[in-house]
Symmetry: C2
Subunit: 423 residues, 2 copies
């Protein structure tokens, strides 16, 4: 018996890595003043069918009929649920709303590197703010998440583009925005398709590949200056490159769009997002009409990238070691003091320590092995000297006699001396 | 458009309540030396069909055929996934394994109070330890979770029973354990069924209702003494009552079983669990044979109970207020200093503070309102006096001039003075 293909068992080592990434997501989001929300994992199929997010997501739905005859689907993305929630209660919240979630999503994808069928994703959105400051805030947050993971501007790059820039270009060429979706699809494929093929498609819009390439080389002129100034003031300019070849796959984007990549371009995008000023109105049938900007960052490509980056991997391992394991282990050297050991166990846990002791009788040597295996810093030996205990600092192999009344104070002092950041 | 019946949207207020409960679960579990794991939300249907956990769960599955023709189901409980994971890798882990998870589960239940179709549950298991110390450790952890939530022995009770005790009773009456499952079902219904009906059913086992009641009144004699001694040493005896009417619905329990209830018995069980020494062998087709004990605690009944208990509710609200919101808000009194404000914003966030500022131009009075609404403790006013700032302690309406270089130091001192536990 195994997990389904594309699904993961999280043994404690793997769960610790997931928790490390999700806690970085949450910590940085809170520093940025975002609040967490969530929605159901199962939703009405209608919620996705209504949306113009494109055929790919719809073709990848885990969908079925529930016991009550409802057509339902495991959520493939968050935005439709977010739109529903905002339509229901937006009046309760002052704008701009800065909301994030950390949650699992499901897509029936072909098995390939960087793609799983169940993945965790960080989603962050600013709703109700039309100004470019909101775009800057989100891009800065994506960068600060990557920095918190130990990645620098030599490791990752934010490629910034703007749908309006391309629509302006199209209007200049054809006099209208007709066929914009198909035109953007041509731009999207520019790097992957044969030039002759692209040339042929562009002809339909009265322009040449050379003109398109010249426009890309122009870098969008002043269009990004306010956004780039904000990122400059934050010390993040080195992370960002204007790259008009980015248009994003989803149909609903309406302004700035961006994708984050590893510098070596060996992997799929680490994150992506942009403005979607018309989507909430469209999804809510006009019930709300609020500008919005957001991005998503999944755990699969990011996790693969951390494993290949020495600094990020080391930081992850240090943080997991720091956050995991226990603080104290009680070694019962004399089984007749088992009751005292249990009392002590409870007292130390009540004080907030992470403590364990053997569940049954066990040789003292084995107990010390267990203490080390569990990551304890101190072993507290309880035996015939009770109410005096021996406290052993495991890393230093130092031992000291401490009375049971003094134990909590002794531990607090020793812990703080060892590392003021410990508690 | 609404969430499906039995599913919840978690607006920020509701998400904060869920995060409060799940963080108490995680904190207490770590104090007890448990490590976190997780498994896929979607599993092979076989995983549940094989299990003898009873027809009720099977009849409540969200099951369907995926795009690859696999029969799959949303997980209704964790134990089958845990058994699969343990069978795959148990040799990697020293026994006893103390594992917990915090995860969503799905059951297509009739809508009723305390029952939803998507719920979050804490599951904790000790695998590989046959001794009753493991049972005590789990019951203690359940109690410590309730205490951490602000509930005392006047609010909740652990009702403790033992399947072996009933099997011994049955063997005394009939000379064998034949029909044990049906017999236990009679005991399970004792409090809900008409006495004449019970009397009739018991006759098949050669015993009377009077004998059964006398056995219940005996309280199991010495059977629980070691478990109760351990809970006594932990100062938790007042939370526990032996109650042999508890047998638990699931077929696989094999020893001690327990359920946690509110004292007024107005609600369904808050938690329940017990020993299942044969289940892992059975589920893994004999691949592993390890004793185990575990329990689950869901968020629905628990959440309802917290709302009705003044002390628990107050503690939750205080903790949510403490954990939520931002620390600092930057008031931009002079828009020409927007760049400085952005620099300052980044510097303060880099120092670990939760900081926000207006996304666009806004009247100063509105900015102060926003600062208070977001829960900021200090407003930092940046204007024509730059590089001197005004820092306003919002609760006290006190204002002080601070130079921008001194700001971080000033804030650290002020914050620590206000409450040494803040940072």
């Amino acid at each position: 018996m195994q997990a389904l293909p594309g699904f993961r068992d999280y043994f404690p080592e793997e769960c610790a890595r997931r928790n490390y990434v999700t806690s970085v997501w949450r910590d940085v989001a809170r520093r940025y003043g975002f609040v967490e929300y969530d929605a159901p994992i199962l939703e009405s199929l209608d919620l996705y069918a209504k949306k113009n997010s494109g055929g790919e997501i719809l073709s990848q739905l885990f969908q079925f009929t529930d016991k009550g005859g409802r057509e339902v689907a495991l959520r493939p993305e968050m935005t439709p649920s977010l739109a529903r929630m905002i339509a229901a209660r937006e009046r309760h919240y002052r704008k701009p709303m800065k909301w994030f979630c950390v949650a699992p999503f499901f897509r029936y994808e072909k098995q390939q590197k960087g793609r799983l069928r169940e993945f965790w994703q960080f989603n962050a959105d600013i709703v109700g703010e039309i100004g470019v400051a909101a775009d800057a805030e989100l891009i800065a947050m994506a960068i600060d998440i990557l920095r918190a993971l130990g990645l620098g501007s030599g490791d990752v790059v934010v490629r910034l583009s703007n749908r309006h820039a391309w629509l302006d270009f199209l209007r200049q060429k054809t006099g209208s925005e007709e066929g914009a979706t198909e035109f953007l699809a041509v731009i999207d494929k520019l790097e992957r398709e044969a030039p002759e093929e692209t040339e042929k498609k562009l002809a339909a819009y009265g322009c040449t590949l050379e003109e398109v390439r010249a426009f890309i080389a122009s870098g969008g002129g002043e269009a990004f200056s306010s956004l780039l100034d904000s990122l400059e003031a934050r010390g993040m300019r080195a992370f960002v490159e204007v790259d008009l070849t980015i248009v994003r796959g989803l149909a609903y984007y309406s302004g700035n769009v961006f994708e984050v990549f590893d510098r070596s371009r060996k992997m799929r995008a680490l994150a992506g997002g942009g403005r979607y000023d018309n989507l909430l109105s469209q999804l809510s049938g006009g019930a709300v009409d609020l500008p919005a900007v957001g991005f998503g960052m999944g755990d699969v490509v990011l996790g693969n990238f951390i494993e290949t980056n020495a600094q990020a991997k080391q930081r992850m391992e240090e943080e997991i070691a720091r956050a995991g394991g226990i603080d104290l282990f009680i070694v019962v050297a004399d089984a007749s003091h088992g009751g005292h050991a249990t009392m002590l166990l409870q007292r130390l846990r009540d004080e907030g320590w992470r403590v364990d002791m053997p569940a049954g009788e066990m040789k003292v040597g084995k107990q010390f092995q267990m203490a080390e295996m569990l990551g304890a810093r101190y072993a507290i030996v309880i035996g015939s000297e009770w109410p005096t205990l021996k406290v052993k600092t495991l890393a230093l192999r130092q031992e000291e006699a401490v009375s049971q009344e003094d134990l909590v104070g002794w531990l607090q002092r020793a812990w703080t001396d060892a590392d003021p950041l410990n508690k």
